[in-house]
């Protein structure tokens, strides 16, 4: 099984993407999608290092939904600030110490930080243990760090052990 589906999630993604593109549930396309779901990740496998290996899919889904919600909410906040007086914005950089070690997890964290408005991951420190984050409005650095670690990093540590 592992040989055929080195990255099951990716295979699933390919399968879904194909059906979405073809916009049909035709048996021919289902078959084709299945074939591609095997072949394409295998082909891409040659380029990828280790695969992501997600542990807790349900938690991942929950995290995803939380992120979506956060995106909407904080977007509203940032929109307000953009439309308001610029002098009231206090931007700033902050280094977030990382406990997560899985590179996929770090990538996901950085992506989430960037996608959620108000924060933006700029750099992974050379030691790989800190993430440089730019905050649109930084009132309390410690609180921001804590919030990110609690809301995103700890679920991610479970998903990408």
């Amino acid at each position: 099984m592992k040989a055929w589906f080195p990255a099951p999630l990716l295979s699933l993604a390919v399968f879904v993407v194909w059906l979405l593109l073809a916009a049909t549930l035709d048996p021919a396309h289902l078959l084709l999608a299945a074939v591609l779901a095997v072949l394409l990740p295998l082909a891409a496998q040659r380029l990828r290092g280790e695969s992501a290996g997600i542990r807790r899919p349900l938690l991942a889904v929950r995290l995803g939904l939380r992120v979506l919600g956060d995106i909407v909410m904080s977007n509203l906040e940032v929109a307000g600030r953009i439309l308001g007086r610029e002098s009231k914005i206090h931007p700033g950089f902050v280094w977030i110490p990382l406990e997560i070690t899985n590179p996929h997890g770090i990538a996901a964290l950085a992506g989430i930080i960037t996608m959620t408005p108000g924060t933006l991951s700029a750099e992974l420190a050379p030691d790989g243990r800190h993430l440089l984050v730019h905050c649109f409005h930084l009132d309390d650095a410690a609180a921001t760090i804590a919030q990110i670690k609690q809301r995103y990093e700890s679920p991610l540590r479970e998903i990408f052990p």
């Binding site: 990716l10 593109l21 048996p27 021919a28 394409l40 040659r46 380029l47 990538a107 992974l124």
Partner: protein, 920 residues
């Protein structure tokens, strides 16, 4: 037989030319064979010639041009052929002993026979164009002969000068004979000669005459072209003896004789030809007196005698023609012998400078005697052949008709030239064989080898024989030749030595006396040895050619200054001129327009603003590149809004790859363009650019507001039924105009190969190197790797449905290549290629093969290349699937595009800095 006569020298020349250098004797024997065999053949051909009917042969060459290998042996040709062969034979014998060990005998005889053949061809040609052909061949082969001692600069220069002058004449001759042929309606000599009155009456006559005379005067060294001949004396003496007695220079007067029936008879001919002849006669003979080099003296003497012959042909009376022909023979014999004698003297003493020579008669009395007799013939002393023709000349000079000035002038010139001729002949004899000397000679001169002397003896005997018993010797030859020129108009003439005590004889005697007096007078009055003429003609010629070459060089350098800016500017200007010219005479009414959709203004604003910003920022390259990205986006959007989804997709994808390529290149280029110094140039370019832009816009507007009746109507209708696809653009690309696409992917693949060829193993120094190790870019990297299989799916999808909806091989290929580009950017070349090491050139080949072979499939069914074939194949579970051959073709496109793009990107990315190690 005539062909054989002509072919022999050429065949033997080729044979000799292939001999190795050491085969001297073989070369000489073969060379001797040519004139001997030629003379035998000529003898066999003699009866019909003497009977007046002549010999003819015709082989077609280029019939549409009227150019034929038409040979014609009449009396004139026969006489000349005899001269060429007979004297040629003697020259071969002489040269056999003359040439030294350092000279390559095969090469010499090869050139000599080439020349002999060309000369023969000239005289037996029965077609004007063929005549011009052989005429130029004599120029070329004489060039080789004159330049034979090419280690000497005088030989090289003399040869080049001779070729330039006589070659020019040859091209003039070509022009002249083409004109004559146009007037006469044929190039065949028989026709042309019969068309004399017609030619004289033609408005083109002066031009034709002028061109032919240019050829004659250059070849026969007539004033003012005479200067090349003395410089041709740098040739080995056998060459001079041959070229300047019987052949090369005689070609000119031969032509005069040959075309006499067609060209003579006008005042123009009379005044120009006899005038030039008279001037040359005087100039040549006067200069001859003051030469120090024996060959120089003989050269100027030759010029003068040719002037005499020219003058005679100019006079144009039948008797003058006879005299001219007679003198041609006589001059050939005595001048050839004199040149050979000069060669012997040079050979024995090592010099030809008469200031150092003298007293040789004691040392080599036999040669001396021969030379003295020949000189006397040259001086026109009775009992020698020169006397007879000179007498005839004097007779004619007294009977000149026309302008009074001409009558007196010719008579005076005749007497004066006679005296000069005596004087230089005397100088030659006196300065060489008598008086003090020889001076500063290393060896003691003695008589030459017996075989070397024989040619001189033969010629001197001829001089004597003709001079004493002309009726028995030369009369039939002369008669035959005269018949060849004059036909039935040959006048009655007598070749006796004694015509009574008449005016011509008095003139001869006076000339003799005056010449002797002149020589000794001059010798006493002025220091002959101190006079040195620098040839004015040569100075002018060289100054002119040098100046011309220098001027040509400057002009060329001015035009082609190596500036791409100029070349491109000129192209734009040329386009402007050609685009604007039609509107000078016409105006255009604008057609109807459609309303602008609101989004159109957005696209317009983005596009125009970004274009202007690109130009404004162009010096800051990276900025310009970013801004230009928006131009590309605007163009894509325009395509999308205007119903061209395939175009939009392609433009977007190409844009991405282009930006990447430009950035890759920018790493090795300066970041900024320096400010150009010339403000004027910037304004000028801006003006050109505005004109180009304005003109294009106006023309586009004019075109697209007009109705169009296009073949595309049929394409839309046929796309589905005949092409099997609903996306008409794709059907056009892979089927209707699939041949374009085949070419297009070839271009693409080759571009990839060029990048490969140019960057393989190449090291280039980057403009600036950023310190530190490359950032692993972990986050983008992981995203890109996740994206890759998804992008592959999209790519395949776009490929499979391209025939019916936007997509197709090209777009799909790029959708595959762009995420791969991302891998290259984020992971590096080495990483990607270690894992995915495709042999991209081979994949390009396979893609092309797919495209080619799909097209070839239709041959099997008897249809033209690339006829598409669509079939529905029933597959269990899946139902009927369309299998279009066009799809297979598109696979080729897909492969070539993907592989080509990746090859370019990979090669650009794998360039290393000098000194960097691979994998660093």
């Amino acid at each position: 037989m005539l062909e054989a006569l002509l072919a022999i020298p050429f065949v033997l020349a080729l044979a000799i030319g292939l001999l190795p250098r050491e085969r001297r004797r073989t070369a000489a024997w073969l060379a001797g064979l040519a004139p001997v065999a030629g003379l035998v053949l000529l003898a066999l051909l003699t009866p019909p010639v003497l009977s007046g009917e002549g010999v003819r042969s015709l082989t077609e060459w280029v019939p549409t041009l009227g150019l034929a290998v038409s040979l014609r042996l009449d009396g004139l040709a026969w006489m000349f052929a005899g001269l060429v062969l007979a004297i040629g034979g003697l020259i071969v014998l002489y040269a056999r002993y003359y040439l030294s060990e350092e000279d390559s005998m095969p090469r010499f005889f090869c050139f000599l026979l080439l020349f002999m053949g060309s000369m023969l061809g000239l005289v037996v040609a029965g077609n004007l164009i063929l005549m011009a052909v052989f005429w130029e061949l004599t120029s070329v082969s004489s060039f080789l002969l004159i330049g034979f001692w090419n280690h000497r600069s005088d030989a090289r220069e003399g040869a080049r000068m001779a070729l330039a002058i006589t070659g020019t004449g040859g091209l003039a001759l070509l022009g002249g004979v083409v004109l004559l042929g146009r007037i006469a309606g044929s190039y065949e000599l028989d026709v042309v000669l019969a068309a004399g009155p017609q030619i004289l009456a033609s408005p083109w006559y002066p031009a034709a005459l002028g061109l032919v005379l240019l050829a004659v005067f250059t070849k026969s060294a007539q004033f003012p072209f005479q200067f090349w001949l003395p410089h041709a004396m740098a040739a080995p003496t056998p060459v001079s003896a041959y070229l300047h007695s019987a052949t090369m220079v005689k070609a000119g007067v031969f032509l005069l004789a040959r075309l006499h029936p067609a060209l003579a008879g006008s005042d123009l001919f009379f005044y120009v030809v006899s005038g030039i002849g008279a001037v040359t006669l005087l100039v040549g003979s006067w200069h001859a007196i003051f030469q120090h080099d024996i060959k120089g003296l003989l050269a100027y003497s030759t010029i003068s005698h040719l002037g005499l012959i020219t003058l005679l042909f100019g006079l144009s009376t039948p008797m003058a023609v006879v005299a001219g022909l007679f003198h041609i023979i006589n001059h050939a014999t005595f001048k050839a012998s004199l040149f050979m004698a000069a060669g012997i003297i040079d050979h024995e003493t090592g010099t030809r400078d008469m200031r150092r020579l003298g007293g040789l008669f004691k040392l080599m009395p036999y040669t001396g005697a021969l030379a003295i007799i020949a000189s006397l013939a040259m001086a026109g002393v009775p009992l020698l052949n020169g006397f007879l023709s000179k007498e005839m000349f004097f007779t004619e000079a007294l009977e000149v008709e026309g302008h009074q000035f001409m009558r007196w002038g010719v008579a005076a010139a005749a007497v004066l030239a006679g005296a000069f001729g005596v004087a230089y002949s005397l100088r030659f004899v006196d300065d060489t064989f008598f008086g003090p000397g020889p001076l500063r000679i290393e060896t003691t001169p003695h008589e030459p080898p017996r075989w070397m002397r024989i040619p001189v003896e033969v010629l001197v005997v001829v001089c004597l024989a003709v001079g004493i018993v002309p009726a028995l010797t030369i009369a039939p030859v002369l008669h035959a030749a005269a018949t060849g020129v004059l036909g039935d108009d040959v006048p009655a003439y007598s070749l006796a030595i004694w015509h009574g005590l008449n005016v011509p004889l008095m003139m001869s005697l006076f000339g003799l006396a005056a010449g002797i007096a002149l020589y000794f007078g001059i010798k006493r009055l002025i220091d002959l040895y101190g006079i040195s003429y620098d040839s004015l003609g040569r100075r002018v010629f060289e100054w002119k050619t040098d100046r011309a070459i220098a001027w040509a060089g400057r002009l060329t350098a001015t035009l082609e200054n190596g500036s791409l800016q100029r070349y491109l500017g000129l192209m734009v200007l040329a386009a402007l001129v050609m685009g604007a010219t039609p509107f000078l005479a016409a105006s255009l009414s604008p057609g109807g327009s459609q309303p602008m959709p609101p989004l159109g203004w957005l696209v317009w604003a983005v596009g125009v603003a970004a274009t202007l910003a690109t130009v404004a920022l162009h010096r800051h390259r990276l900025l310009a590149l970013v801004v230009m990205g928006a131009v590309g986006l605007a163009v894509s959007l325009a395509f999308l809004l205007l119903s061209a989804p395939d175009l939009a997709l392609t433009q977007l994808l190409v844009e991405m790859v282009t930006i990447a390529l430009m950035l890759l290149a920018l790493n090795y280029l300066p970041e900024e363009s320096p400010v150009e110094r010339s403000r004027l140039r910037r304004w000028r370019d801006a003006a050109i650019a505005l004109a180009a832009g304005g003109g294009t816009a106006a023309l586009v507007h004019a075109a697209i507001t007009r109705p169009l009746d296009t073949v595309a109507t049929e394409m839309l209708a046929l796309s589905l039924p005949e092409g099997g696809g609903t996306n008409v653009v794709n059907v056009i690309l892979v089927d209707i105009r699939g041949f374009d696409t085949l070419g297009e992917i070839t271009v693409f693949g080759v571009a990839g190969l060029i990048v490969h060829a140019l960057l393989r193993h190449v090291r280039l120094r980057p403009e600036r190197v950023v310190d530190g190790t490359p950032d692993p870019l972990l986050i983008p990297n992981l995203v890109a790797r996740l994206l890759l299989p998804l992008a592959l799916a999209v790519s395949l999808y776009l490929f499979l449905r391209g025939h019916n909806l936007p997509g197709g091989g090209f777009i799909a290929g790029l959708v595959l290549a762009v995420p791969m580009l991302l891998q290259y950017v984020l992971s590096g070349t080495d990483y990607v290629e270690q894992r995915l090491g495709f042999d991209y050139p081979r994949v390009i080949g396979l893609g092309l093969a797919a495209a080619l072979l799909t097209g070839l499939g239709s041959w099997l069914l008897g249809y033209p290349y690339m006829t598409s074939h669509t079939d529905y194949v029933a597959v269990p579970l899946l139902g009927k699937l369309p299998l279009a051959s066009a799809m297979a073709f598109d696979t080729g496109v897909y492969l070539v595009v993907a592989a080509g793009t990746l090859l370019m990107l990979g090669m650009m990315g794998s360039v290393r800095a000098p000194g960097a190690r691979r994998g660093g």
